[in-house]
Amino acid sequence: MIGLSHYLIVSALIFSIGLMGVLRRRNLLMLFFATEVMLNAVNIAFAAISHYYNDLTGQMFAFFIIAIAASEVAVGLGLLIVLYKKYGSLDLDDLASMKG
């Protein structure tokens, strides 16, 4: 029988994959993909908890997370385009202009 823990563990694994992506990638677009992965992982956890505790709150949070993800992509992609126009690259190593 599949329990809550199963879903949560899958969610944790996917989240870690996303985290690995964030750590590993230098390309901004790829970083965005990794972020999406992490957001989705969390959504799975929310939906699972919602199901197992018979509570709609989890789903509500998932909705708002999707809304936030959508906004993030809209703004983030706009910024990426501007950056690309300006520097011709999306690699973070090329964009390191804030050295302290």
Partner: protein, 187 residues
Amino acid sequence: MYEAVAFYLFSVLTIGLFLITVMSKNVLYAMTSLAAGMVLISGFFFILGADFLGVVQLIVYVGAIMALYSFAMMFFDATRDIKEKNTSNALVFVLGGLSALVLVLIFAAPIHSEAIQALYPMHEGVGNAQDVGIVLFTKYLVPFEVAAVMLLVAMISGIILAGKKMDLSLTEDMSADDEILTQKDEK
């Protein structure tokens, strides 16, 4: 039984697809596998009885967001493989593995608390969409409206950021500005 089969199938596929997303050098592959993974996640939602959420996931993520990514990709050179100096794998796997391990440990632990009570319980014999709708438009009305405004703002900013001087190259503009500045200096 079906549930178990579906769960394990989806789990394996999702994890595999997302691994491709994270590891692939090709943007196109990464994006495709991301889209596929998201479809499978909506599968999870359907298994969990969150029909409406699953549909939204399909429409918003797979439909809208992925479409946005693919349009954005047209600005970038997507056919070539991405050359990047990835962070050393050791660090990535240590950190990622550690976080995975700890999270799994935490989530695998039995939940002791008996005090968890449903704040907005689901109703028997009522469709998920109906339930969600009622809660969303009564208890979560204000956050909902705020989210709507946020999306509007995001849309406008996206248009302005990406659409401003679409016809001009920003780099050339800069040099033009520089020329004007140097001329001024000469005067």
